[in-house]
């Protein structure tokens, strides 16, 4: 228990101290929010879909959580490269508690980043439909954060250096975002795109966020919750398994 806490605390300390990373990782979602939100807004409205900022804000929040949690998971490569991983793996602590501590730490930082972007969305004119559903939005963010941190940890367990990092970002993280329905309504999308989106965990996270924040959902909030929780369980198990197999 203490081991999980100290690993979580370490991630928090590192997060708070890396101000440049906090600012840098906020830049991208804000660019999407402002450029796409205000740029496509009029077109979206003319097509009869309503306010685009309202629609895109949950997508941008989901994107923030996705990017930050994947990055936190992948940070494991750094720990391996700079040697700190050995210090934790040789301690009389079970691998699974190390994995849980790391994942909770990474997920918390991603959640905090998501909440910061959510506040910026409010400043940009985003309005919540029903304030009492805010805890449900946070639940969806936490689930997404845990899912993707576990996924990142699992992938990083297989990688030995930074070479693979760019590959993961380009082949996994970017598609996961662009094909999730975060930027466009899935209902009007071609069937093929809908199919891809339906196997993307982020689709359910963003859909759940929309349900909680603006009262609109494509899959339905129950489906979102069930499917996303299933993804969380599966990725935690796979990530935990791969992490337990790391050899120094």
């Amino acid at each position: 228990m203490n081991a999980i806490y100290i690993l979580w605390l370490r991630q928090m300390k590192r997060y708070i101290r890396s101000r440049t990373r906090i600012v840098a990782s906020l830049a991208q979602p804000l660019l999407f929010l402002f450029a796409l939100g205000f740029g496509f807004g009029p077109v979206f409205e003319k097509a009869g879909h309503g306010n685009y900022i309202q629609f895109i804000a949950p997508g941008v929040i989901g994107m923030t959580v996705l990017f930050n949690s994947m990055f936190s998971g992948i940070e494991l490569i750094w720990d391996r490269q700079f040697g700190f991983l050995k210090e934790t793996l040789v301690a009389p602590v079970s691998r699974i508690s190390i994995m849980i501590g790391r994942t909770l730490g990474g997920a918390t930082t991603a959640l905090v980043q998501g909440l910061i972007v959510m506040s910026v969305c409010f400043i940009a004119g985003f309005r919540v439909q029903n304030i009492s559903l805010l805890p449900m939005a946070i639940l969806f963010m936490a689930l997404m954060a845990t899912t993707f941190t576990a996924l990142g940890t699992g992938i990083a367990s297989l990688l030995h250096d930074f070479q693979g990092f760019q590959l993961v970002m380009n082949l996994l993280v970017m598609p996961a975002f662009f094909l999730s329905g975060g930027l466009f309504p899935l209902a009007d999308a071609p069937k093929a795109l809908q199919m891809i989106a339906s196997v993307d965990p982020l689709s359910y996270g963003v859909d759940g966020l929309r349900a909680a924040l603006i009262g609109v959902a494509h899959f339905g909030v129950t489906t979102d919750l069930v499917v996303l929780s299933a993804f969380t369980t599966v990725f935690l198990s796979i990530g935990g398994y791969l992490f337990s197999k790391i050899q120094l």
């Binding site: 081991a3 040697g83 301690a91 009389p92």
Partner: protein, 262 residues
């Protein structure tokens, strides 16, 4: 305290450690001396639960590292060949993190961290992030950390690699002090002969995965009819230069890099 019998590790056709046997008594400083790629680090990994032996027997304080992993891990501290601190955390936080992982009670933890950081002359810098530390300071911190949970054995894998003579000298003074005061058994690997001669009670010389000789420094000199340990070392291991790439870990690292690039 440490016992290895016919300990072997092979990777496919390559045998990194070949049926070595030795014993280290409680309170002893034992040096594992050998050229690059001789199998020193592989041996340390097998003794410290990080690698499963292909065959043979290991006992740490009477326990089997493979079967009683956590019990064995509580009994030793280890300083790895390369750095293993968190650069973003301060010296104190690195120590505290270690203390929590090893379940050192809070009260004992803070007093012991203070006395160790003072001994290793890092107390003034305790609140500085480790990234601002020099190589020697990092090493001192890692050794201090290795002692934090009052281990029975301290493993030091080439702890003085790349350090200046002053730092090395001071490091060994501290290690010897703690060896005497706390009766910590020390198992170290090095390829600096004069260090082994100065601090170790007994030395084993390892080459190509085999122990070619072991005994007190004086015995090794008599054995080879030489007047310095360096000459004894060269007499036992030959004078040819070792290719660093002969080590299996280096080989595997290269393989991993090759696949990683694709």
């Amino acid at each position: 305290m440490i016992r290895a019998h016919d300990l072997t590790k092979s990777y496919g056709a390559f045998t990194a450690v070949d049926a070595i046997s030795f014993e280290v008594a409680e309170g002893e400083i034992f040096a594992f001396l050998g050229p690059n790629g001789a199998g020193k680090t592989t041996t340390v990994k097998m003794l410290t639960t990080l690698l499963k032996p292909s065959s043979g027997l290991v006992e740490i304080d009477g326990l089997d590292p493979a079967a009683q992993q956590n019990e064995v891990r509580k009994r030793f501290g280890i300083v790895f060949q390369d750095s293993s601190t968190d650069d973003e955390l301060t010296a104190y936080e690195n120590m505290d993190f270690h203390g929590v992982l090893y379940k050192v009670p809070k009260k004992i933890r803070s007093t012991r961290i203070e006395s160790l950081l003072k001994l290793f002359e890092l107390w003034e810098r305790r609140d500085d992030p480790v990234k601002r530390f020099s190589g020697g300071m990092r090493r001192r911190l890692e050794i201090a950390r290795g002692f934090l949970h009052t281990p029975k054995i301290l493993f030091l894998d080439e702890p003085t690699l790349g350090l200046d003579p002053q730092t090395r000298n001071q490091l060994w003074k501290h290690v010897q002090k703690l060896n005497q005061e706390e009766r910590v058994t020390v198992f170290l690997t090095t390829h600096y002969m004069e260090e082994a001669e100065r601090v170790a009670h007994r030395i084993a010389i390892i080459d190509h995965g085999r122990i070619v000789a072991q005994g007190q420094p004086a015995e090794l000199k008599t054995l080879t009819g030489t007047d310095s340990l360096e000459k004894a070392f060269l007499a036992l291991t030959g004078a040819s230069i070792r290719d660093e790439e002969s080590g299996p870990s280096v080989h595997m690292r290269n393989m991993a890099k090759m696949f990683g690039r694709r």
